[in-house]
């Protein structure tokens, strides 16, 4: 039976009907039409569906939707449209922007600049795993980054560039890392 689920999505209140056997991934994709979390295996192996739940990177295909009642969920959409929303800054800033003109999170900038995504299907999950990790550990070692991304598969084989890009984001190669903000609310 479906019931009303209320939670915070990318900093905004969200309300949606969800079944008791429904996963958070299905609720996000089907109920709320957010297609950035991807389904690769639907059993917690691949990490393409990674979102941030109360500050922790989780695989949304292994979370029952109704268990996030009252909690905070962030998807990659929230990095540009929620937390960082605003008019594009003036001037000729070389920093890449989202398709809607908003500034990107340094992790997104780094992934783009380092050419980490190939087919791109693992990328939204990689971004969220990396952002949740840097929120906790803004000055990591390379080994720690590898460990943090170890739950996210990339079949194109782009692991090395993803790790390099997270290290670049951590040392502020593009923009300083933002404050932890509301993701762990």
């Amino acid at each position: 039976m479906s019931q009303i689920l209320r939670f915070h999505l990318n900093g905004n209140p969200a309300e949606v009907m969800a079944g008791e056997a429904e996963t958070l991934l299905d609720t996000l994709r089907e109920g709320l039409g957010l297609t950035s979390p991807k389904c690769g295996c639907n059993r917690g192996d691949c990490g393409a569906c990674t979102v941030i739940l109360n500050g922790n990177a989780v695989k949304s295909c292994t979370v029952l939707a109704l268990t996030v009642e009252g909690k905070s969920v962030w998807t990659v959409d929230g990095l540009v449209d929620g937390e960082r929303a605003g008019e594009p800054e003036g001037g000729e800033s070389p920093a890449p922007r989202s398709l809607s003109g908003h500034k990107l999170h340094p992790v997104q900038t780094a992934f783009h600049e380092y050419g980490a995504p190939q087919c791109g299907y693992c990328t939204p999950g990689m971004v969220m795993a990396a952002v949740a990790f840097l929120d906790r550990n803004p000055s990591p070692t390379e080994e720690e980054v590898k460990d943090a991304l170890s739950g996210n598969l990339c079949r194109c084989g782009g692991y090395k560039k993803y790790v390099q890009a997270v290290m670049a984001a951590a040392r502020g190669e593009f923009d300083p890392l933002p404050e932890r903000s509301g993701r762990n609310v």
């Binding site: 297609t35 950035s36 991807k38 059993r43 959409d77 990095l79 398709l99 783009h112 087919c119």
Partner: protein
């Protein structure tokens, strides 16, 4: 000098990827979209004694149930011998038998459970070396061995005289090499969204890597003229060759035509792993004659390609493999005999260099063994036997631009190997009597 080499060049689609805005086929959603699930054969080989879908058709939420009788032309693939929905005999585990379009996944699965089907399980043959034996269970009515040009058990390459070559040799080295099957496992499983648009065209959002291959192939399955079949491609979540074969477009298209509604057919991870096309197994036997000075005087290769139950891209792989199996070596006396055999497994698809890299694995290991046998280094044997510009390759084509020796010199430098002086002076330029003596 270069616009891009050594520079960081952003991908044109990179921003979409890092912001999650890139739309893949599995993200396509349409109003009233139905879900497709298929009934797959649980046996490696079976006879379908009877099938009754009447109860499934009246199951709640079901819009259509189709079997082979509902397919206008039930054969597809590059070599069109694969059934869209199984005929009387199923030839591999997971072969599609019937398909349902329903309002939800649960309704589709419920309907599948209501299909009454009676199987007679038949003895399969799984091992390719068993399948070529007389009396092996027959995968296909015409036999297990593919007949090249309709009459030959082998695809053959002949050059020089191997018997003379072996007589000239100081050592004979034989090796047997095998490669297993491999699944592409793209992170996005195969997915199709199909619908009939307002002017009456069948529109297919496809994960195909070769849209025009698929369009031509499926126009035949649907028996539609090409101008009524529109394929929409785009960014795909990984293909690696696996999406050169059709896994979902045909069935989703048939159900869209049957229901007049949008239909989504996405494979589960399990289906993708177990039932889609794969890099199929190969067995290589290489017999070489080699002189003390490292020159390969003769080579005999026999290849057995396990194609699975249908040809798909297996034949293409055999051709590529046969042409390149003797490697980047000038071998004056050569015989290649390649066979392709059908077994009760999922069919042979394309996968990243299909046919070539499996053969090169065998050939490169064999070269190392040759070097060991005559007591020279793995580098030396490759220099001594390398092709030069102007040489004829093993199928008789003149090689216009060769860089084997330069590549070896670079590899040696990068890996910290010291080469003897004379090899540093060599090049791939056409051989004259004064250069690269000893050949």
């Amino acid at each position: 000098m270069y616009n891009s080499v050594g520079k960081r060049v952003p991908r044109y689609d990179g921003i979409g990827h890092v912001t999650g805005r890139t739309q893949y086929v599995s993200d396509v959603k349409m109003p009233g979209m139905l879900v497709c699930k298929t009934l797959r054969c649980p046996y490696h080989k079976a006879r379908i004694r009877s099938i009754d879908v009447s109860e499934a058709r009246t199951s709640p939420g079901v819009y259509a149930v189709i079997t082979k009788d509902d397919v206008p032309h039930n054969l597809f693939a590059m070599v069109p011998d694969h059934h869209v929905l199984a005929e009387e005999i199923t030839r591999y585990r997971g072969q599609n038998i019937a398909a349902v379009a329903a309002a939800s996944r649960d309704a589709a699965l419920d309907a599948l459970a209501r299909i009454r089907i009676e199987y007679e399980e038949l003895e399969p043959v799984i091992d390719p070396e068993e399948a070529i034996k007389d009396g092996a269970p027959q995968v296909r009515p015409e036999g297990n061995n593919h007949l090249f040009d309709g009459n030959s058990l082998t695809r053959r390459i002949r050059r020089g005289n191997v018997e003379e070559g072996f007589r000239e040799a100081d050592f004979i080295v034989e090796g047997r090499y095998t490669t297993p099957s491999q699944e592409h496992a793209p992170l996005e499983t195969c997915c199709t969204v199909a619908y009939v648009d307002a002017p009456g065209r069948l529109v297919i959002h496809s994960k195909a890597q070769g849209l025009y291959f698929a369009q031509g192939d499926l126009a035949n399955v649907f028996q539609l003229p090409l101008n009524r079949l529109k394929f929409i491609g785009g960014t795909i979540g990984g293909g690696f060759g696996g999406m050169n074969s059709i896994h979902t477009d045909h069935i989703a298209g048939l159900l869209a035509l049957a229901t007049g509604r949008p239909v989504r057919f996405a494979l589960t991870r399990e289906e993708e792993m177990l039932f889609s096309t794969i890099r199929t197994p190969w067995i290589f036997r290489i017999r070489d004659g080699i002189r003390r000075d490292g020159v390969i005087t003769a080579r005999q290769v026999s290849v057995l390609h396990d194609c699975g139950a249908y040809t798909e891209l297996g034949l293409y792989a055999v051709e590529k493999n046969a042409n390149l199996i003797a490697g980047a070596n000038l071998i004056r006396n050569l015989e290649v005999d390649s066979r392709m055999v059908y077994t009760n497994k999922m069919p042979s698809g394309s996968m990243r260099g299909f046919g070539v890299n499996v053969g090169q694995y065998a050939e490169q290991v064999q070269l190392d063994r040759l070097a060991h046998t005559v007591g020279i280094s793995p580098m030396e044997i490759r220099f001594i036997n390398a092709f030069h510009t102007g040489d004829k390759n093993h199928t008789g084509n003149e090689l216009a631009s060769v860089s084997t020796i330069e590549t070896l010199q670079k590899v040696a430098a990068m890996s910290g190997q010291t080469l003897p002086e004379k090899y540093l002076a060599w090049s791939s330029a056409p051989l004259s009597p004064n250069t690269n003596s000893g050949k």
